[in-house]
């Protein structure tokens, strides 16, 4: 072992704190700056209640999906089937309700059960059989996507019961659709789980050093399976919000959310508690990205700006978190 010069006692912790607090609030500050800039550029359409309400409401699905991804990310697995599960769950709810006349409540339960089934299969292959989660979820994601197209006969299904639409979008609190508040509630729940339960601590150690976790008596397999299951469950919930928002479902729906969700999760990990995936950081990241895109579109950008913006955000986020980690390790 060679020494790390900065590990010497005096001064270094204070310095590290200072650096971190800069990093910690960089994203929220940038978000505010973006809002200010667009408000100046488009004073009549951007800083309006309607616009704010629209941004907050329409991204609730993305928030729930992103928050779901945090669980496998924290324990060190990648789940890329989650976006397809959103589509699967949405399609199941709409299909069961409209074509098979199942009551909305039961339709929701069945959709969530199927979502969990995908998570369970992910866990079985990735953890029990030890195949890389990325590959497993690539497969199950494609299966879910195919199943969605198959059962809908590859066409958009409409006519979801108004009762679900009401409890997702029609009802509003302070002018914002109720689905926004659901997503905030889920965000708070995951924040609590990660930060204020022993489970959150264990997930952290599992994600950072699996063997250390195993030798600390932590049941690594159970935690990894649980995380994949939880992610699929939240993706299923996101799917129900997705169906409720539009009252319909289309084959391939939800898969456009994969990149934004990962971009937001990684971007979120550079803020509040830099270097760790965290719920409120992800929430801020989702709305930062959404604000930027809406602003650019109001300025006349074409809709491919979304892909460019999300792709760039993902790269910047991964770069930033790598730099944070390197700086923490090298300099302290």
């Amino acid at each position: 072992m060679t020494e790390n010069p900065s590990a010497a006692p005096a001064g270094s912790p204070r310095r590290r704190r200072r650096n971190l607090s800069l990093e910690r609030y960089a994203l929220p500050v940038t978000w505010v700056a973006v809002i200010v800039v667009f408000s100046i550029l488009k004073p009549d359409v951007f800083p309006t209640g309607d616009n704010a309400s629209a941004i907050l409401s329409t991204n609730a699905v993305l928030v729930v999906l992103t928050i779901g991804l945090l669980a496998p990310l924290t324990v060190g697995d990648l789940d890329i089937s989650a976006a397809a599960v959103v589509g699967l769950s949405a399609m199941l709810v709409v299909l069961l309700n409209t074509v098979h006349h199942v009551e909305v409540g039961y339709a929701i339960l069945i959709a969530l059960a199927c979502s969990c089934l995908v998570g369970l299969v992910n866990g079985l292959f990735a953890v029990v059989l030890g195949i890389d989660a990325l590959i497993v979820t690539l497969g199950t994601g494609s299966l879910a996507l195919g199943a969605t197209a198959w059962m809908s006969n590859n066409s958009t299904i409409t006519g979801l019961a108004q009762s679900l639409v009401n409890v997702v979008v029609q009802n509003q609190i302070f002018g914002v659709s109720i689905e926004f508040y659901y997503s905030i509630a889920i965000c708070v729940l995951v924040f609590y789980l990660l930060r204020y339960t022993p489970m959150g601590r264990r997930m952290l150690i599992v994600g950072q050093a699996r063997e250390v976790a195993r030798l600390s008596g932590i049941s690594v397999s159970r935690i990894r399976i649980g995380s994949l299951l939880f992610c699929s469950l939240l993706a299923g919930i996101a799917g129900i919000l997705y169906a409720g928002t539009s009252g319909s479902a289309q084959p391939g729906g939800g898969s456009e959310l994969l990149l934004p969700a990962y971009a937001a999760a990684f971007l979120g990990s550079t803020t509040l508690t830099p270097g760790r995936f965290n719920a409120f950081g992800s929430l801020i990241a989702v709305y930062f990205l959404a604000t930027g895109i809406v602003g650019l579109e109001l300025l006349g950008a074409q809709n491919y700006v979304q892909q460019i913006f999300y792709g760039a955000a993902l790269l910047v986020a991964v770069l930033a978190s790598t730099l944070i980690r390197r700086a923490a390790t090298r300099n302290g």
Binding site: P5, A8, G11, S12, L204, L215
Partner: protein, 520 residues
């Protein structure tokens, strides 16, 4: 004088890593560089290599004053060569490719490589330095010791073709012996003596007092980034050296142990018929208050006893008895072993011991975190109190338990790992190489803790290849060879020499592969 560095200053943020440090090495001498983790040794060496730019300081090589920072490759051109702890060899390449790797990476000037002369030349170079290995062999087939020697030969022999540079004048060896089996270390020193006799200077960085004492002409001690002294090795005794390295005597910290020891219960641990891949039918009984050492030659598999009774290795048979509990070793898991009051301090700290990127507090409290989950909320203040107490009681520096663990020095990380298990007040403490890669000061602290834990009624089993440490700590030492306990030393029989000779007696075969960590 081959090298004279003086007045080196380097500041990282608020920390002075080097505060007017320096070192001078004569031609044909072995010069030791000693200091605790965090004393500035690594930074000093990085300055010499041109990797770190000092804020101030002077550097002379072979009497010639150089401007700092050194240009890329300047140190090499002037005849400085470096062998780092990890050796920098590539296991998938052959011996010859590793030996002449610089030539291969600079092959732009000749597109064609004459492989037969390449290997002939490699064979000649190896022969010149007396290393008997096949240049065609892949590196991964080499014993650890041969790899170390190869790295040294490469450093000495490398002289990029067509360069105007000089041959090697000074070799810097940064803890070259840490990962070597004890029995093989002598060959490294034989090679060092050979180099020195050719007028090359050697700067030797090590934590091991005995090596420094036996193989250096002079030593320079660094502490807190400053030169404490440069002395002839023979003119000081071990005590004096240690106090130069450690500085102020660390205050006694006896209290922690009272607090962390288990409740008094005179229940021995009884292991019968333990068999693993390498072990057959091991029987052991250890009483509270006892420190049992288990050791053997590298590859003897003594560490499998520790990992398998903690439920972290693959036992094929065996029974464990602790108080009223009788359990098949096969059925043990780490969680069950912990329920029985066992704790395992593994040798590989980064792979098995602590999560490097978690905070000190998160590491120290991970095994007791459930106790602080009340009314559905994790009592973070309680966890912080535990961590703060451990930090002060174990003397962990710096005293900030919210720091990321890999920012601490090796010795302090080791204390964090100890703390993580001591908070559980284990009845049975299993230790595997508890002071590996740890500086002198922390080593003494850790030995003291182990001894005090035993005095307060803990069952301690310590697997180690450091015979001196075993002789110092243990009340009995079991020697394992050929899969069995070949001998148990007790009382006055326990000396470093006896342990070594008993280990050697266990097997006529040469030492096999290096000791592995946990399996599975």
């Amino acid at each position: 004088m081959v090298l004279r560095a003086s007045g080196l200053k380097k500041r990282y943020g608020g920390t002075l890593a080097l505060d007017s440090a320096g070192v001078s090495v004569l031609a044909g001498e072995v010069h030791g560089l000693l200091g605790q983790n965090g004393s500035g040794k690594s930074t000093l060496i990085k300055v010499l290599a041109g990797v770190v730019t000092p804020d101030e300081g002077e550097l002379e090589i072979a009497g010639e004053r150089l401007t700092l920072p050194l240009a890329v490759g300047e140190a090499h051109r002037r005849g400085l060569r470096f062998v780092h702890q990890n050796l920098g060899l590539i296991t998938t390449l052959t011996v010859a490719e590793n030996l002449f790797i610089e030539r291969l990476s600079l092959a732009r000037r000749n597109l064609y490589i004459n492989w037969s002369s390449f290997f002939d030349e490699a064979a000649a170079t190896l022969k010149q330095y007396g290393l008997d290995v096949d240049p065609h062999a892949p590196l991964q087939e080499l014993e650890l010791i041969d790899r170390s020697l190869l790295a040294i030969i490469r450093a000495v022999a490398s002289n990029t073709a067509g360069d105007s540079g000089s041959g090697a004048r000074l070799i810097v060896l940064d803890e070259p012996t840490v990962f070597l089996p004890r029995d093989d270390v002598g060959r490294v020193f034989a090679m060092i003596r050979d180099l020195v006799s050719k007028g090359i200077g050697v700067l030797f960085v090590s934590h091991r007092m005995d090596e420094v004492r036996n193989h250096t002409d002079r030593v320079t001690v660094l502490r807190d980034g400053r030169n404490i002294a440069t002395v002839e090795t023979d003119s000081v005794d071990d005590e004096q050296l240690v106090s130069m390295i450690v500085g102020e005597k660390t205050a006694g910290r006896g209290r922690i142990v009272d607090e962390l020891a288990p409740g008094e219960e005179d229940v021995p641990i009884r292991i019968t018929g333990l068999s693993t891949r390498t072990l057959q039918n091991i029987d052991l009984v250890v009483r509270p208050g006892e420190i049992l050492g288990i050791t053997g030659l590298a590859g003897a598999g003594y560490e499998e006893v520790l990992y398998s009774i903690f439920g972290a290795g693959r036992a094929t048979a065996g029974r464990l008895e602790l108080g009223a509990t009788i359990i098949q070793v096969r059925d043990l898991t780490p969680a069950r072993a912990m329920d029985l009051g066992m704790a395992l301090i593994p040798a590989d700290r980064l792979l098995h011991g602590i999560a490097a990127r978690a905070t000190v507090e998160e590491n120290e409290t991970i095994t007791i975190v459930d106790q602080y989950f009340k009314f559905l909320i994790l009592r973070r203040s309680g966890l912080n109190e535990v961590a703060a107490r451990l930090t002060s009681q174990l003397g962990i520096q710096p005293k900030d338990h919210q720091m990321q663990t890999d920012q601490l020095s090796g010795g302090n990380q080791q204390k964090v790992m100890l703390g993580k298990w001591l908070v559980r007040r284990p009845r049975v403490l299993l230790l595997h190489e508890p002071t590996q890669g740890v500086d002198v000061g922390a080593r003494a602290d850790i030995s003291t803790f182990i001894r005090q834990m035993a005095q307060l009624g803990t069952i301690v089993i310590c697997g180690s290849a450091e015979y001196e440490q075993l002789a110092d700590l243990c009340s009995r030492v079991a020697i394992i060879g050929d899969g069995r306990i070949s001998r148990v030393l007790e009382g006055d029989e326990i000396t470093k020499e006896n342990i070594l000779s008993e280990c050697l007696r266990t097997s006529s075969r040469p030492a096999a592969a290096p000791a592995a960590g946990a399996e599975g």
